[in-house]
């Protein structure tokens, strides 16, 4: 739940962590987004980086231009005057996915683990609307929650050394999309033709914290001809 008073944690001489709640929860996440949007709209002097995550906002600053106590006071003022009604609604983004076969090599295993058919896994995964809690791990990688309870699956025992870009995967109560090729231990159930990260575009990531995401199934032919 949301803390009545934020907890400020010191991360060295150039970062302040503003912790707003104690769990992974849409309400806490919305509050983080409110504070994040307010600070982005009216940047704090000396702040180089504002990184939102599940329940906190990290402010990285230039220690020659501002101080921890100054920043903490400013954040406290902003929190007291936040007006959630001024915030735009989160964006809704639909993401096409080819499920199974070489695109989703763990689909069968996930189905077997839950004692359901692969089609049922696809139906469950695509029926739900997910909340983007955070972009992290790699540029453009969205952490999406919550998975329906019947899809909560452990990570792979042995992580893969190569997970292709665009892979749609799940682990515990979350689902995510590999935005660049990398090693990884999540269960891969499909792949999207969309580019989750493109350093040449603005903004560079397809998704941002707070977006709502829904997946829909496409077939291989549609994937090949998908207009990015």
């Amino acid at each position: 739940m949301l803390y009545t008073n934020p907890q400020y944690r010191i991360m060295g001489d150039r970062a302040l962590l503003v912790e707003l709640g104690d769990e992974v929860d849409p309400g806490v996440s919305n509050r983080v987004r409110e504070l994040f949007v307010a600070i982005k709209a009216d940047p704090l002097e000396g702040v180089l980086e504002t990184t939102p995550s599940y329940r906190s906002l990290l402010l990285i600053f230039d220690p020659l231009e501002t101080t921890l106590s100054l920043l903490q006071n400013r954040v406290q003022q902003i929190l007291q005057t936040l007006d959630p009604s001024q915030l735009c609604d989160p964006r809704r983004v639909e993401i096409p996915v080819v499920y199974g076969r070489e695109y989703g090599p763990d689909l069968e295993w996930v189905a077997g683990y839950h004692g359901i058919t692969p089609d049922e896994v696809i139906r469950l995964h695509a029926a739900h609307t997910y909340h983007v809690y955070m972009i992290g791990f790699m540029p453009g990688f969205p952490y999406l929650g919550e998975l329906p309870e019947s899809l909560i699956t452990p990570r792979r025992e042995t992580p893969r050394t190569v997970v292709p870009r665009g892979s749609v995967a799940l682990a515990q109560g979350q689902t995510g999309i590999y935005s660049t090729q990398s090693p990884g231990g999540w269960q891969v159930i499909g792949r999207t033709p969309l580019a989750l990260f493109d350093p040449g575009k603005w903004p560079p990531a397809l998704l941002e914290m707070g977006d709502r995401v829904k997946f829909f199934a496409i077939d291989e032919e549609e994937m090949v001809s998908w207009d990015q």
Partner: protein
């Protein structure tokens, strides 16, 4: 005069990349800072050749490349001592030199430190992506096509002839950092120091840790005594933003110092390296030992001001 071809890579070394001060302001998209891990050496090298201090240079890791000058070019080598040579004659570090067309720069091997910086008068002409020329190896963008240098690569620089007059500039010997195999690193407790018992913290601050070969630009993995979190706590915390220099303690109770290639992390962090000592992290190599010294916020600010005043007073 514009962009001119200055250097050609004859042999790249195992990991040579283009890095400037780093990429800031894109943490919300999961984009890490990257950038020179020893920012002090980057900045001084640039000033020695008459560049702006945050211009891109080549960051060379442990084993040096072999490079030929395509035109008269001013260079300076700072950071780790990998025994640079020009045409087989030793080259003094922390001083700007004129490479004549056809001169070959090579390195005899590491003597101290981990990363050396080759600054070029006129910098490195590559595209600025999200405000930086730094190479992001994991996502493959920035620098030269997002990859380490290869044999045959050509470096171009902006109006190199204009920089030749800075030849002979050198850093006062008293200011040259020494990289020892037993390095003290100053830290501030937190952000999750309350997750560790007084005893665990005593062990953390009282023991040497050895740098392991599993270290890279993402993090320095250490081995030493176990730093156990308080009992009743889960193995990980809810993921949150991190800053280079935070020291996280994963499930195996062995510290990892986060460097420049990640923006979030899910392990509790016992302490964070002060800004003034971040450049030293870039010079730690496998086998070195690290001792963490706890300092106050005041001491950290004094140290960073001292360093900035020193750099501001150069040349």
């Amino acid at each position: 005069m514009g962009s001119v071809e200055t250097l050609k890579i004859l042999a790249p070394g195992p990991l040579t990349t283009v890095q400037d001060r780093g990429r800031f302001g894109f943490g919300q998209y999961g984009v890490p800072p990257s950038g020179a891990l020893d920012s002090f050496s980057l900045r001084v090298g640039n000033l020695l050749v008459g560049n702006k201090e945050h211009e891109a240079s080549l960051e060379i890791t442990v084993i040096g490349p072999k490079i030929v000058a395509l035109i008269d070019t001013l260079i300076a080598i700072t950071g780790a001592d990998l025994q640079p040579n020009v045409n087989e004659t030793p080259l003094e570090m922390w001083r700007s030199h004129l490479l004549k067309k056809g001169d070959v720069l090579s390195f005899k091997g590491p003597r101290s430190g981990c990363r050396t910086y080759l600054a070029i008068g006129g910098g490195i002409s590559v595209q600025n992506i999200m405000g930086s020329k730094s190479t992001n190896l994991a996502a493959q963008f920035g620098g030269l096509e997002g990859r380490p240098l290869r044999k045959g690569d050509i470096i171009s620089s902006d109006s190199p002839a204009r920089h030749l007059k800075a030849v002979g500039r050198s850093l006062d010997k008293a200011l040259i950092p020494s990289y020892t195999k037993d390095q003290d690193i100053r830290v501030i407790s937190g952000p999750q120091d309350d997750h560790f018992s007084a005893e665990a913290k005593e062990i953390f601050f009282g023991s040497p840790f050895r740098v392991t070969p599993q270290s890279d630009r993402t993090g320095i993995r250490l081995e030493g005594p176990q730093i156990e979190a308080k009992k009743n706590l889960k193995e990980s915390i809810i993921s949150e933003g991190v800053v280079p220099g935070t020291i996280q303690i994963p499930g195996d109770a062995q510290p990892i110092i986060i460097l420049g290639e990640t923006v979030t992390g899910g392990y509790r962090k016992v302490a964070t390296v002060i800004s003034a000592d971040l450049p030293l992290l870039g010079q730690l190599k496998p086998g070195d030992t690290v001792n963490f010294l706890k300092v106050s916020m005041d001491e950290a600010y004094q140290a960073i001001r001292k360093m900035e005043n020193m750099v501001a007073g150069l040349f």
